[in-house]
Structures are given as C-alpha cells and as structure tokens.
Amino acid sequence: MSGFCGYDVTLVGGLRAAMARAVDELDALRCSDVEAVAAMRSIATARSTLRDTWLPFATSLLSCRAMDGYQPAAIAPGDLINSWIRLTSTERGWRTATDASGTGALSAGTALTVEQVRAIGDALSGAAGDERLTDTELDWLATALEQIAMRPALVAALLPAMTTVGWTNLCNQLGAAKQRMATAALVARDHDATAEEQADRVRIDGVFARLGGIVVANRAVHPRSDATLLLTDMTPYAAAALAVALDLDADALAATTRRVVERERELIDHPVELVLGPRAADLLFGALLSTPGAATAYVMLTVDAPQLAMEATDDPGLAHLLVRTGTDPANMTPAQAAIAMPAIARWLLDARTRSSSLMYDPELTVTLADLAAPHLLQLVTSGTDSYELSDSDRRAIQTAIIGDGAALDHLLSERDRVLGHLAAGLPVDPTERVAALGDLAALLAVVDSMRTAARIRTAEQDQAEWDLAWDLLDKAVGLIPAEGLWSVVPGAAVTVLRTGLEAAGVGPESVGEVRAAALGSFDTMTTIAAATVVCARFDQLVVAGRIAPGTPLPPVPDVEADDVGQDYRDRFTTWLGTSGLDDDIMTDLHDVKQTIASDHESARNANDALLGG
C-alpha cells in the first residue's frame, strides 16, 4: 500500500525555503579547534539530514512530477488508513501526493489524536465501511480500535463521528466474512484450518472484540446508553458477533438474543431445517452459557416460543445444552420451572413429528428425557407441587420416554439429576419432612412403573434402575433429620440390616449379585428402602440419647419371604409394640416407614397415571 501525504503548498514552500537557509547557515559554520570536533560532527549530521533527506522531499512535493510519474494523487474515499489525511486535506483545500519516500501506512501503533480518530469514524461511516477492508486495513483497524478503547477521549471522539450506518456497514462485512469462514469449516470438518484462515478468523474476532470494548468503555461513562440499538440494522449474524462482545448482563443478553434470533427466522424464507451453516444463535448461545443467569433468562423469555431456543442454532447440541442449563433446578427457581417445563415438554412432544420431512425425530425424545430428568416428579405426577399439565400430557411424556429405549436409558443414567431437587435436605417440620420422604417414594414408584411398562429386558437397564433405587436410599438416609448429628456413624441397626441384606445377596456393595427376582420387585425395593430409613433414624435417636441403649433393634426385611413387604410390616408392628419406646418416637419411626412403604400407594398412583389405572 502506498502512503499518502496531504500538504499546504504555501506552508511547505515556506518550510522548504527555511530548510535551504538552514543548510546554508550550517554550511557556513567552521571551526578547526580540537575541542569543537564533536560539535562539528553534530552540525555536519544535521546539515546532511536536511540537505539529503528533507529538503529533497519538500522540493519533490512542490515540483511538477508529470514527467517522472510522481503525480499528485487523490485518496480514495474507502481508504481507511489514510482517512485522516484525506479528511484534513479536503477540509483545508490541500494537495495530496503519493508518498514515495514514506514507509507506507500511518502507523496505528503511534499515539492517535482526537482528529485522527474522528477521521476514522467518519471514514467507516462512509465508503471505508461500505467497501471490503483489506487484511492490512483490518490489522491496522484492530490496533487503532484497541488504542481508542483504552482512552475515553478517543472513545468520545469516535462515537459521534461513527454513524449507525458506519457500525452496520463495518459489522455486516465482518460478520459475512466470519459466517463464510464458519460455513467453510463446517463443510470441511476433516480439514484443519490453515494458518491463513486462522489468522483471518483472529483478525475479524479481534475487530469485533475491540468494537465491543469501545461500546463498553462508553457505557462506563454513559450508563444509560443502550448499545443494543446499534444492532438493529445489522444482519443477524453480524449483530450476534457484536452483541457477544458488549458484555451485556443476563437479562439484556437474553432480550437481545431473542430479538436477533426472531429476526433471523423471519429473514429465512425456507424451512429452518434446511438452512445449513452457522446462525446467530450459535454465537449468542455461547455467550448466554458463559453469562451467569442468562441461560435461564433466555429460557423464560422464550416460554411462548421454545423453537427460538430449540431450533435456533446450527449446532443442536448447543441449543440442548442451553435449555438443559437454563432449566437446571440449580439455576431455575421452582416457580420458573412450573412455567417453563410444561411449555418445553409440550413443544418437544409436538416437535417429534413436526419436522419438515414429517419424520419422527428420535433425538427429540432423548432430549425430552434429559430435560425432564430433574423435574420428573412434577412432570409425571399430579400433586400439590406438580406442574400444570393435563393427565394426557403427563401420560404422553411417560409413554414417549418408555417407547424409546435410548430415552429411557438416558433417563435412568441421569440418576444424579433425577434426585437433584431433593438434595437440599429435609425440612425440620414433621409434616413437610414426611411430604419430602413421600417424594422419594413417589419417585421410586414413577421410575419403577416406567421401567415395568417399558419391559426392560437388558441387564444394564436392570442395573441402572437398581443403582437409582440405591441412590434414592442413600439420599433418604442422608436426609433423615439429624438433630445436629449429621456425621453420625451408622449404628447397630443399619449394620444389622446391611449384614442381613448382604447375606441374602441384596445390598449396595453387592449390587452385581442381586438376584433378578429382587430387581423386578417393587415390593422388595420399597421394603428395603423403608427398613434402611427406619434403621438409620433409630441409630440417630440412640446416639441422641432419645432411645435407651439395649433397646431391641428394628427388624430387617426377609428377602426370602413370599411377601417381603407384608412380612416386614407384620414384624415391624410387632417390634414397635414391644420396644418400650416413647409414643412420639414410635410415631416418628412409624411415619418414616409408612411414608416409603405405605402399602404401595405411591406405586399404585404411578401405575394409575401411567397405565390408566
């Protein structure tokens, strides 16, 4: 690239004449004294610099160069790097010349002045922003923008000079280039990006990041300014690329994402399933995921149109991750989940057969199972805390998961997330405590009913359910109100229970040896659950001094009995009657046992809901 210089003919003429006089004057200085050697050397250097370099340069500007090709030149309106020279020359009526002596571009690394920055903004608002920037110009611009972002005075100079059109033009051309590169990368997944392609990507991302930095710097000075207004006229992808650099808070980012994604869908005039290549949401969802609270904010903002989350990206995994993160009970309040989850579940149920090709999309059922996992109880049962869904919707959710082996496998493998909402601990209030234990029992029942209905056949599935059951038991024991004794070591009752179960081939440490009959028996499972919880509670009460040492231990289930549950109930009732315990302790232990092994009420409810009674 050629450099340019702009100049005032009269003033350059004056400068040239002064240089000539200075050379003559320095020429006239003579001194042979040995003490003046160093000074005379400096004088000679100065004279040489003037005579050999700057005097010819000034002379060349004023000479007619028609014969040697060094002609007066004009700076193109789209020349970003020389925009300041062009603007100043135009304003002052100066001449412009190609700068054959110069090193080329005005260095962006040197300290920029307010005037130079205004000229950059002006140029970007005109042809420079409209025309495709060269790689050199992009590098130059990135360096200049970085410097501008760090100095409030330069930010204040740039923003008024750079119009909305300028922002739009610049971001659109950069966004289009970025989108082309991302598309090319998708088309050639096996092809590693060349160094040149990587450099292009870094270059464009750098400019977007610095543009964002300038807006952020301006917002620090003007907190009420709404930077997202700049995005209005940009292409969705360009708007997304800039939006992610604006350091927006969760709500603003979510609102911006919805606006951009909606606009993109309107612009796409053919079925979205057929649109290949990166979309605005592929950029924005990444930002939502890295901004605390933003994923949930976006899920809540699109409850009326879940497709703006589920169908917005080219990468379906990213959309899934966003919704999964947004609906995670760790990020979403129960009140929010009660609004969002029914809408998402209904949308997924419908979407499975709504694709453009009218083909069943099995991935959506796995998605449904995955998103439903931490909300299973509220989605598939009808109770006080359940979500607002019709019975047919609840049944549809379960049958969809049951009917899809991969979905059910996925649900069973997500034990931690299924239990997640119960991890906060049991409430102190006895009524609430019993209700929470009831949730555990109901979850056991729901999962068992789903498993039964699905006729799980493989050993892996049996194993998964058994693992889930024992995780539930662990959770139940851990949630027993400890009265300050959370770290209590398992006592005699639990030890006896565990020893007995292990002797019978049933126990958490010997799951692999559990017999198939026990795996399939909900009765056995809930009885073991109840006995585990009762024994843990008993041990805690002994340590707390509320049960006298020497009191007979609670019974353990006989897994060899014909009717494990009935046998345990009988022996538990007998033990309770002869234990000599206080009434309140007997009530406590009875409630705990009854909540989990309550004549299979939970199982009946679950089966009624799922199988239609």
Partner: protein, 85 residues
C-alpha cells in the same frame, strides 16, 4: 623541535572562538524548523517522521552548543591556572 608551549592568551582566544561558535549554533535556523513542519503544514507518515527528526535535530544542536560552551570554560580555567605574562 617540540611544539611551543600554549600560553594563557592563546587558550582564551580559543575559548572565545568556541563561545562564538556556540552562539551561532544556538541561534541557527535549523533549531526552529520543526515549528514549520507541524500538522498545519502537512500530514502523512513521512511528514510525521520529518517532524520527529527535526525535533531530534534541535536537541542535538542544542547539546552541541552546550558542549562548545563547556569546552570554552575548560580552556578559560586552564588559562587562569597558568602563570600570567
């Protein structure tokens, strides 16, 4: 034949020449050229470099003037230390 010893008068004459040269250097037109090469006159990468070099030249010449005066002072001190005729 060894050179004749330098007397105090000769040293003072040399000092005078150096001070006269220093005055001419310090008032040289070259010291003010940078004022004519500002952005009021021209802009561009080469004019920017020119302005920078003219500023550097000003510093160099002023240093040269100061060195000449230092040299002149040293000669005068030597003259004062020699036996006066």
């Amino acid at each position: 034949m060894p050179p004749a010893p330098i007397g105090p008068q000769q040293l003072r004459e040399r000092a005078t020449i150096l001070k006269r040269l220093a005055s001419r250097v310090e008032s040289a037109l070259a010291l003010d050229l940078h004022q004519r090469a500002t952005e009021e006159t021209w802009i561009g990468p080469t004019p920017q470099r020119c302005h920078g070099e003219l500023l550097a030249m000003r510093i160099t010449l002023r240093d040269a003037g100061r060195d000449l005066r230092d040299g002149a002072r040293a000669l005068e001190m030597r003259a004062d230390q020699l036996p006066q005729p």
